[in-house]
Subunit: 211 residues, 2 copies
């Protein structure tokens, strides 16, 4: 590849990223259905033609936003925990990480919001992916003997997924729902119910990750 | 009033109701932003002109849907419980009632969904009204000594409101989130945590209201 074509390729990649970020911001602020491609390209500082070169339609742009949001969700869920971290503590930490990311990252926020968009079918369903991760993690916690014997892991999945999706949706209007203190209070309430008494004292509802 | 003008007035009221029902169905299915007034009036079996006689804009129609949805929410929350029902049991029963109503009632569903619509400000915020009712009820439960002393009523409010909004949002895509069994499993998990041991045995997670 010539130096010139490499420069061109890099520039194209940057334009694409910038369009995805701008689209996420406008989807997040105005909703997918009313978002205007002209506003998006102008926020990205490119022409309408450049937008159409990268994305054939608003739906294609929304798919790209969700794909990028999925990458960011996986960065939160798949971060390697310190050795010896219990599965339940990992769940607490990742919930905090997700809330923090939703507070600051419009791409992640738009990616989640697009799942609830009645006017389009989601190719990347972030809420479903989140649910699967919670399910998998609680199954492991159960297998490791971390959960109280009388607690059904699937009931915990239902409660945790519903509550976190609630935080996400309510947080779009009022950021306090995504604050560290809200997430901490949720876990402070739930932890004594979920885990064996000997483990409760070891767990930190406010999370153990350096923010 | 003449008999003729009474007939006219009744017909107008029926048309208005029918437009609200049709709008709710279309908002629920396609989303507020893309919903077409022509589709709504045709579903209601009236002309575009008749729609505009009753509602000056799509926003006015959305307000009317939310106002009607609020009436239906209040019918669920304000139903008088049998004498001697504990506040926590009332909360359980009403959550079941809300989920059942959301399963079957497109007006209530659309009213809640419109709260999350980025493209418009809600005049009637049903999620906020629901939150206030949960808050009030748990405050009473606390005052009656139903809650465990170590549980902070406000933490329960946070968890219950987030989870029920989660059920509502996830239920729009997959009705199982609004099923009686989902709500029952949620309460079966939470009740032992919330109330004094002596009360747990008396409470029914599946609700006590005749459906």
């Amino acid at each position: 590849m010539t130096e010139q074509s490499m420069v061109k390729q890099e520039r194209a990649a940057r334009t694409r990223e910038s369009l995805i970020r701008s689209a996420a911001e406008i989807f997040d602020r105005e909703g997918f259905a009313v978002a205007s491609l002209t506003v998006i390209s102008s926020l990205a500082g490119v022409s309408n033609g450049a937008l159409h070169f990268h994305f054939s339609s608003k739906a294609a742009l929304a798919d790209a936003v969700q794909e990028e949001a999925l990458t960011r969700l996986l960065a939160v869920t798949d971060a390697v925990p310190p050795l010896g971290t219990s599965r339940v503590q990992l769940l607490v930490d990742v919930t905090h990480g997700l809330a923090a990311a939703l507070r600051t990252d419009a791409v992640l926020r738009a990616g989640f919001e697009l799942c609830g968009e009645a006017s389009r079918a989601s190719q990347f369903d972030l809420r479903e992916r989140w649910q699967r991760w919670v399910e998998e993690t609680l199954k492991q916690a159960d297998a490791e003997g971390e959960l109280r014997p009388e607690v059904a892991a699937q009931d915990v999945v239902t409660a945790v997924v519903a509550a976190t999706v609630g935080f996400e949706v309510l947080g779009a209007r009022d950021a306090v729902w995504l604050s560290a203190s809200t997430v901490t209070r949720f876990w402070r309430l739930l932890l004594p119910l979920l885990v064996r008494a000997s483990l409760v004292a070891e767990l930190e509802a406010e999370g153990t990750r350096v923010p």
